[in-house]
Amino acid sequence: MDRTSKELTEKNRAGASTADEPAVPQTVFLDDDQPFEKPASEFVPGPFYKAADERIPEVAESSLDGVTAGSSDLAVDRRDFMRLFSASALFGASACIRRPEETAIPYVNQPIDQIPGVPTYYATTCGDCSAGCGVVIKTREGRPVKVEGSPEHPINQGSTCATGQATLQGLYHPERRKAPQVKIGERFHDAAWDETFDALASRVSAASKVAIFTGGSTGHRLEFYRKFLKHIGSSEDQLYVYEPNGLMSSISKAHEIAFGASGMPRADLRSAELIVGIGSDFLDIGTSSCFHTKGFSASHSFQRGKMGRFVQFESGMSQTGARSDDRYPIAPGDELGVALLLVKSLLANSSSKGSAGERSEMKRVLDSYKGYIVAAESRVGVSSAELDKVAADLITKKSVVMCGGTAIDENATMLQVAAIMANTLIGAYGKTLFFDRGWMTAPTTNRGIKEFIEEAGDIDLVIVIDSNPIFTVPQAFGIDKVFEKIPQVISIQNQNTETDRYATVRLPGHHYLESWGDEQPVAGFWTVRQPAVRALANSRQSEDILLWVAGAMKKPMGFADYRTYLMQRWKNIHKTLGNKVDFDTFWRAVLRRGFVGKLEKRNVRSFANVRGKIAPSDTPFKSGLKLVSPLDVRLQDGRGADKPVLQEAGDSMTTITWDSWVAINPNTAKKLGFRRNDLLKVEGSGGSVEVALYPMPGMHPDAVYIHRGNGHAEGVSRVTDGFGVNPLGIFSKSVDSQTGQPVTSGQTVKLIATGKRYRLAAMQKHNDIANRSDVIKKVTLASAVANAGKRKNLDDVPDLYPKLKESPDYRWGLSVDLTSCTGCSACMVACATENNIPQVGRQQILMGREMHWIRLDRYFAGDVDNPEVTYQPVMCQHCNHAPCEAVCPVYATAHDPEGMNGQTYNRCVGTRYCANACPYKVRRFNWFTHKWNVISKTKETNRNPRALNPDVTVRTRGVMEKCSFCVQRIRDAKHNAIERGEKVRDGEIRTACEQVCPANAITFGNLKDGRSRISRNRSDNRSFLMLNADASHGHYGIKTLPNVNYLAEVTHKESAINKKHHGGSSKPSGDHGAKKSSTDTGHQG
């Protein structure tokens, strides 16, 4: 890597290259960091490859442009040339700076499928959690620039969660390891891959007991690891799978106990009329958040005039609970009590389903829990009459009971057994829950962390793959000592982890965007993973590493690489599916589409023989404050913590960024004498942490919530240094005895004041609607149904101003459905990725300078102990009477003929008058120039130029920016439409926020097209314009006439904010204050 550019130039000029002198690509981006790109000669990794082509046929390279073709380890490949080209172009442009002269060499033979400027899409499967959502990677000039949900994929149906949207910051993370490191003596030495394989081979051969420790997966990966272990002489049992999301293993174990078959049922929420959740967080993370959100949104968004009901019992205030219609706060640990009481009510109800045998088994189970149930009855705070009513509804309606969240307690498996009993009694299996047909594969196995800790004493060598147990297992388990004792720890990761510190060999693993693989999220349904980019960081795929280690041990497994192995396994799938075409065509078709499958069927016996397998827990119910630590929705178990875009998207319920916090009920806080931002010591039997307080309405008085995900050790990443706490240090060594999964809920804690204060960087400062009538609107279901057919014309507004020039074809509008939005903040991350929005870091967020073009306002209303929660995504409203346009002195913001308000970055001089005039405060100002090629010295952000969208400029300081309705996508779509000779079709343009939303809350389209979805939404009776009062009653509010409309939230009961307005004395009198009509759309004066 020490060639000068001059040598390179000369060599290229000469037009020939010698076989032993690979050309070295220039790096122009990272100054103070090592370059990612390695010469292609080093890229061809092991002794088993023939040519670079062979490895990734889809990305077929043309050979060696501009250089005579020679042997395969000749250097400069297409990507390097592209880089050279852009580097040279840059140099040419900066003529005033002295740089060595470069020549630009264009393609002689343009690679197939690569037109500069036109993106290429690759279908793959997201690997940021084990749900197995299908994604499509948009690549430009060989570089992934956007992750989009795969529209036809049944799991996520075109959406992704916030974590998936932030993938690129993981792919391009500058802190990815650049070279294998082998510990010799006390120090680590960088090594080349060849020597590493030899070193590994000798170590593995020397070890008598080899184990593999990895995270959850539903694909062929785990089977491959078992095969490897067996092949090298270890046992298949030595594969330990640990999934920090405790829900999967408990559900799977419970079904194994109850039905004798493992796996998780597939919950089809689309048609569910009633969902009862007990501690459930299926909209936060659950087992598959995108899948469940899509289903929930279909049944719960007042589509087709109907809206299902959702009753939630929970201890904390979750996004799932926010969408519930009836919510009961219960103490942490009482989930099982409520579930058993519900089962009791169901059994008592004569119309409940289930065979006689099943019912009697359930009775026996309940009997064995009699004492527990009696104690729970007096404690949970939900009367048996209410539970009876819920039970009756569950039986008569098409319903489902979902229990458990990512934080589990000792009774997690029993809770799932109770859920199984409830669902059997309401007849959910076969109607809304499917366990015999297309059930969801559990990503976990029966050998997890408990077995690993027990057996680690015997293990000589463990290979830790894409897992970080030092951080994700509570400290009380002594996991660090466990790893210390293992003589050889091989750590294969694609990001820096705490586990690396206990490793003897650290290997850079592929990011999932560089990998081959697959997942089987639903039995019989396979989703495939193919690389969207060549390895950027001198990494290797973990499975390939194992293969080549076996090869180096002189015990080759018979496959050149994991891709070959995969293709062989897929031949079986091909046969099972009975596909008529030959395998190669099939394989390419699957790669192109990303998935294939047929729901698998099996016979499942009935609920039986449970009592013997699961005994009542002997852990007494603990009173007092109890800690619950669910996974953070964005950061998951901690893997997302080094991605600045996720840190800055903030937790949507608290809007806290770049930090951990402890949430307790506000009344509890007051009783204990704590205020917001007080630094508290949270002490449990395992340890304590110091963390600042955020009083959270809706929490049970005894609940203490600290989300996992932050609190990484110092030095793991510059992004995570200096903030956050890991609550796993507080928990004791409890496990769920059935699965061995560490307990992350129900730990008794003490809250001790430290006397210090700590400012949490929360983006939203005011949490209720402050009696404003015009910001969010809610209607009752009855009223919405009664008015469902009525149409509204929000644009029929008298106007003294002359009409602006209008395009005859297009008027862009957007609608946001407040009923659907779950607050997942995927839209914020998608917008940031699509529009090159920088992250500004904690200090700037504290000052109030977040850059999000779309923000999620979250409003509490009603009772502090059980509030209504509404999320409102707010982006530029593209007002037709825009207050911002009139006041810009230099015309940097102007209305375009298609109805949008456009911001011209070049013209803006930064008077910020427009932002003051904006009533929605959606404009964002660049207070500093955010550099894109460094991790800043203040460790705040990783702004990586590779992840930039080439279609959108980056803004300098002093310039105002705001949501542009993804105008780059509009422009592209119009261009394509012109080429086709027609107008843009509805759905052809999807703004980034619309595309990614798992709840289908956002709709974008052409208002001039009468048949578009947006026209229908805008004329819906529920629709309203924010701050524009109600045009149909002749009140126009501030009359900004936005092109963005909101659909009022439909609630089963009358909302507290409506009651306040119609009865309250807080408003001055007007001529329309008191009347309340049932046909009103929540009209307030």
Binding site: Q764, K765, H766, N767, D768, I769, A770, N771, R772, S773, D774, V775, Q844, M847, G848, R849, E850, R855, D857, R858, Y859, V874, P883, A886, V887, C888, P889, V890, Y891, R907, C908, V909, G910, T911, R912, Y913, A915, N916, A917, P919, Y920, K921, R923, R924, F925, N926, W927, F928, T929, T956, R957, G958, V959, M960, L1027, I1038, K1067, P1068, S1069, G1070
Partner: protein, 444 residues
Amino acid sequence: MTEKWTKTASDVNDSILANLSNPHPMFYVAWAMSGLCVLLGIGCWVYQTTVGMGTAGMNSPVYWGVYITNFVFWVGIGHAGTLISAILFLFRAKWRNTVARAAEAMTIFAVITAGLFPLIHVGRLWLAPYWMAPLPNTNNLWVNFRSPLIWDIFAISTYLTVSLLFWYMGMVPDLASIRDRVKGFKRLVYGLLSFGWRGTAKQWHHYEAGYGFLAALATPLVLSVHSVVSWDFAMSLQPGWHTTIFPPYFVAGAILSGCSMVFTLLVPIRKMFRFEEFITVEHLDSCLKLTLLTSSIVAYAYGVEFFIAWYSGNEQEWALFKSRAIGPYCMYFWTMVFCNCVFPLLWWSKRIRRNIPISMVIAILVNVGMWFERYNIVLSSLVEDFVPGSWGHYEPSWIEMGITVGSFGWFFFWFFIFCKFFPIVSMSEIKLIMPKPLSRAEQK
């Protein structure tokens, strides 16, 4: 005027011009201190320009802060000067003659100071002055004439131009007096500046006509310029800003702050330059009566604003006014009310009016109150406006405070230069109001 003037016409020239060559030593100290403040301000501004606007404390939603407050504050101060020198001239208020020159100078320098702030607060200051002016360009782009900031540019440049001309024209006879006394290079400069003034009757005739004409031209500016500045706020739709009372409210406030500033300036000048016999306590008394009048108008305006906010039934407007009074930034509101409306009530008493030290304290408090009025207006409407999810907070940063201090330094720096090189009291005009010289008989 019942006091006996013991000075003669030549005494006037002598004593006033004595300060030009022989100022009080404190003068140099004060000048140096203001120079230091200017350096501080320049340092802060350079830092802000190189690092970015983020060094100031502004954020979302408070995109304007201390800088716009300063801008409006300084423009407002200037208005009193023009009122005193132009409007009172047309009303033939004799007492104004002693203070007019200093007041008019104050206007000039206040406007110059104010004119800095649009550049300071703008995000890309290297483009702003060029693009905000309607200069010809190849893109055929006009500026946005609907924007109040453009109106500001026209209003303030007009105001500066007219005030400069008015001030300069009034000084010509005095400059000629100086020319007649000095030698060498100074004589050349003052000679050029005095335009060959000979003091002939015809010249005096033209002078009076021209002066009156410019006074008439400057008069409407007193009302219009600050109205235009108030439209920076009133033309947006923020609650608390979007109200028709703003033009008279701002103008009254401007005159209040200006008159207090005149008083604040005159008292030390009187002492330092030994002008007690020219700028008498009577004159100061009249100035304070004017200040009291405008303070009453301002108090009335506050009351009306509050009443209309409630009476209108507009939920956002009333919520904002409640927030001003009892919300998180209510201390600024109450400072404003007390300093602007309550303390000046003391000036109803003649004894207090004649008590220079107490009146000085009240006048400074009025200036403080007027600064906080602007701050309160800018801040309160921005921190809590329409959408509760967007509400925020604001603290000025050190850079902003440094630049504010620098602006005060800048103002005083130029004012002191004026004091050194130009007659602070208008010699020709004083002679107009002096009683006729005592006859030799009366002198004995």
